[in-house]
């Protein structure tokens, strides 16, 4: 079980799950059918959660400004899609021929690659339709990514538009129940923004330490975890790298750690995965050496 990849699990066990899991209620004679895997150790720690994992078999999507093709710190992408607004005003997903319009998506992909070297990284570009189209692209891109069934979606971005909040909330909940983990940057400015505040996503802020695997659980949400986000060397345009600070760089560190955990334990739901993150956080029992 521990060696099984998430992809294999998706092919094999899901159908079985669908047959046995009751939808809305649990009749007495069905109780035996919902037995949940008991391969949890007595104490969930980093050795159980992360050791030996490379991210293999896990599909992670970078919903961002695009990713530069063949960047040495990112390597091959498993796929690159751009969301665009067609002449009819409708959004559509097309093959991305422009790469990264800013550098930020490449930075996020590089952080994921450095922590989870064998993860399958997909780029979904939601930048490029002008500012006025940015909310529409974000919604369409997230919806498209959730439909693809990626295991993890990294969202180092947010919107302040309240009209989008409800739709984003629905998509985030859909992802949660489809076993797609949304990891979103917390906003460090005094404004309301989404989707990081939703409890169905994992929200991330920054700490100032240098170890990419050090992360803290926050006892005072809505920000749930703090990861490395200050003075991070990140991949950037032109095959090079720059030094960067911001919650948007802490987010892919947590997304990559999720990828490592899911690679070893592919059956985890977002609820279970968030619990594992909590238990192995650097300020919680299982995360301490």
């Amino acid at each position: 079980m521990l060696e099984e990849t998430r992809a294999h699990q998706a092919e094999g066990d899901h159908a079985e799950d669908d047959d046995v899991l009751p939808a809305w209620s649990l009749p007495r004679d069905a109780v035996g059918g919902i037995e949940i895997s008991d391969d949890w150790p007595e104490r969930v720690d980093r050795e159980w959660a992360l050791d030996g994992s490379t991210g293999r078999g896990v599909r992670i999507c970078i919903l961002d400004s695009g990713v530069e093709p063949a960047h040495p710190l990112v390597g091959d992408l498993a796929g690159a899609i751009a969301i665009e607004v067609g002449e009819d005003g409708e959004t559509r997903a097309v093959a991305d021929t422009e790469g990264d319009l800013c550098g930020h998506g490449t930075a996020c992909a590089g952080i994921v690659r450095s922590i989870a070297p064998e993860a399958e990284i997909y780029s979904v570009r939601v930048l490029g339709a002008g500012f006025t189209g940015s909310g529409k692209l974000l919604l369409a891109g997230l919806r498209w990514a959730v439909e693809q069934g990626y295991d993890v979606i990294n969202m180092s971005l947010s919107t302040t538009k309240r009209t989008f909040a409800e739709l984003l909330h629905e998509i985030a909940d859909t992802a949660y129940f489809k076993r797609t983990v949304l990891v979103a940057s917390a906003h460090n400015m005094p404004v309301e923004s989404y989707p990081w505040r939703f409890s169905s996503v994992i929200s991330v802020g920054s700490h100032e330490e240098e170890d990419p695997l050090t992360f803290y659980a926050n006892p005072n949400p809505p920000v749930e975890f703090f990861a490395r986000g200050v003075d991070v060397d990140v991949a950037w345009l032109g095959g090079g790298s720059i030094r960067a600070t911001g919650n948007s760089f802490a987010t892919p560190a947590i997304a990559a750690i999720c990828t490592l955990v899911l690679s070893k334990h592919p059956r985890l739901t977002p609820f279970q995965l968030k619990s594992v993150l909590y238990l192995i956080a650097s300020n919680v029992g299982g995360g301490r050496p």
């Binding site: 800013c102 550098g103 500012f131 940015s134 302040t160 309301e192 200050v230 032109g238 720059i242």
Partner: protein, 211 residues
């Protein structure tokens, strides 16, 4: 025109909004530069009609001639910061060939380090504030990031306020009576005590005649 609209129009007329707006922009970039002891600071404002970012003010570098330069609103670092509503701090950006070229073409000055933060007032995104080439310390701190966010929020509230007055004033163009009333109100505002009282008495008399 109802009384409420008239009041707003007169208020806008009294306020020399265009000049105040330019002064506010200048003040924001100057304070931003001073807070972080940076070499320069600049503001891009979003032009919602053309969906472009407009280079609106700069402090520190001799680049005043660039004020008014436009660029697409979803390109480059400023475009990302605006679209994602997320602040970024980047160092060694001269390593980024596209950025260096774009910036050199638009402003002539290629910074090594940049802090960029969206100007957000509630759900509206107004533009992007950049602080360029702060002194290189060994490490950046989260307190600086917090300060950047707080300052940008204050700047955005002020910009939105003065911007509203500016838009109201622009809306006055062409509507004769209101412009006339606004001009009278502005002139009244500038009068000394005694003449002001006389003028108010005159206006009261005019009001009686008209009603």
């Amino acid at each position: 025109m109802n009384e409420e609209t008239l009041r707003a129009a007169v208020a806008a007329g009294v306020m020399p909004a265009e000049a105040r707006f330019a002064a506010l922009l200048r003040s924001i970039v100057e304070v931003a530069r001073a807070i972080f002891s940076a070499k320069a600071s600049s503001i891009f404002l979003l032009d919602e009609e053309t969906d472009e970012l407009v280079f609106a003010a700069v402090a520190g570098e001799d680049e005043q001639g660039l004020v008014g330069v436009r660029m697409p609103s979803s390109k480059g670092i400023a475009g990302w910061v605006l679209s994602s509503r997320t602040p970024l701090v980047l160092d060694d950006i001269t390593q980024d060939p596209r950025h260096a070229r774009d910036v050199a073409e638009s402003t002539g000055y290629v910074p090594k380090g940049m802090m960029a933060v969206p100007l957000l007032d509630e759900e509206r995104a107004l533009g992007v504030l950049q602080v360029l080439d702060r002194p290189q310390r060994s490490r950046f701190s989260l307190q600086e990031m917090e300060l950047l966010g707080l300052f940008a929020s204050q700047a955005a509230v002020a910009l939105d306020l003065v911007g509203s007055a500016r838009r109201a004033r622009a809306a006055l163009e062409g509507s004769g009576e209101v412009v006339a009333v606004a001009r009278v109100a502005a002139a009244l505002d500038r009068l000394e005590d005694e003449r002001r009282e006389d003028a108010l008495a005159l206006l009261a008399a005019l009001e009686r005649v008209l009603s």
